[in-house]
Amino acid sequence: MKNKIYSTFDAAVADVPDGSVFMSPGFGGVGLPRNLLAALHRQGAKGLTGISNNAGAYVDPKTPPHEAKVDVGTLVAAGQVKKMICAFTAPTHPSQVSAFVRMYNNGEVDAELVPQGTMAERIRAAASGIGAFYTPASVGTELAEGKEHREIEGRTYVLEYPLHADYALIRAWKADTLGNLQFRLAQRNFNPIMAMAARITIVEVENDIVEPGALDPDAIHVPGVYVDRLVRIPPPPEGIWD
């Protein structure tokens, strides 16, 4: 059987080439693959396209560098990202301008703004072999302009296409050596659909990776067939534990 266990985050992302498309889950600071993002930052791949709900949290300039949490914004600030596909390209509060927003305003990084539910469904479409779908979200707004519209049973929808990725960076609560995954509470968010959508799925795991059979088959959120690489998060300070 193929060994999916990698001993370090650096080894797990070593082959990510320039120009790759990567997915990064997380919502409200929960369920982010901070260790893998830090490794991709060290690895230095450039010209990346990121798919993520937001493009990095606002960091107060007074925050000491070692206390700033790693997120997608870390890669953006380092100039590794050429484009973000996300649900926020302006700050939620005008005074809180993230590295991404500053660079986007300066034309240093490109972005596609997508309604969050449409983004989730586009990822699920990629994860499930769906060629496109119609959604009522954004109908009648600027974001639907230029998109194919269709009236179905008296309601207007817009056509949306899948979001594919080369790599998904995933944070899981538990895993077995086959890559079967479980998430805890709101950590789940985008993790399962991104894990299933990407061509290569890399997972950082919070608990010891167990033998096949140790996880309840009825309580698995992502089957291991979608998962390629697993890294157990080491204790702090080596591992990032939020």
Partner: protein
Amino acid sequence: MAEKTKLARQAMCDRLAMEFQDEWIVNLGVGMPTLCSNYIDPKKNLIFHSENGVIGYGPLAKPGEIDTYLVNAGGQNVTAMPGLAIVHHADSFALIRKGMVDVTVMGAYEVAENGDFANWRIPARKGGGIGGAMDLAACAKRVFIALEHTTREGHPRLLKRCSLPITAPGVVKLVATDLGLFEITPQGFMLREYAPGWTPEEIQELTEAKLTIASDVREFRFR
């Protein structure tokens, strides 16, 4: 003449939350709308849904009750109610698009008399912040809006037509401002309640859209 009072944000949200009905699935937007969850009528069983796939959360977690794995749409730590269910993001929005959310409460820059509202983009600035607002606005059974009646410069926010790019057309049902409670009817904004000390005429002066006045218009009530 009674002293003029403007409603505090909590009071605006309390007034909207009073309209929630037993068994409703309620989705609260980031920011001011989360204040609605502070108004809990024990006689009503409400199910709070958050776009990150949390179905059935409770009040904000107090120190000592925090589980860092459980957050609402604003990333605030919330408590689990018995019967909490978790789904992933695509299923969370599947629930929204199916129309299962009975009410979503959002903030806005502008609301128009035709039920349009704008809350995601200021054209003078690059980019926008949509989050889940377009999905929720297009698909929830009801959209309630909480906003200040005028801008900081004193310009009206209740308009004939939105001047900013809209979030969804024709969806707003109820609006609470610091001056009044307005239902959106086929005739436009209907003033149902006003802040203490204000007259409907004074509120009309601060409103671009033409108000109709409910036959039973009265001062704001909170019970």
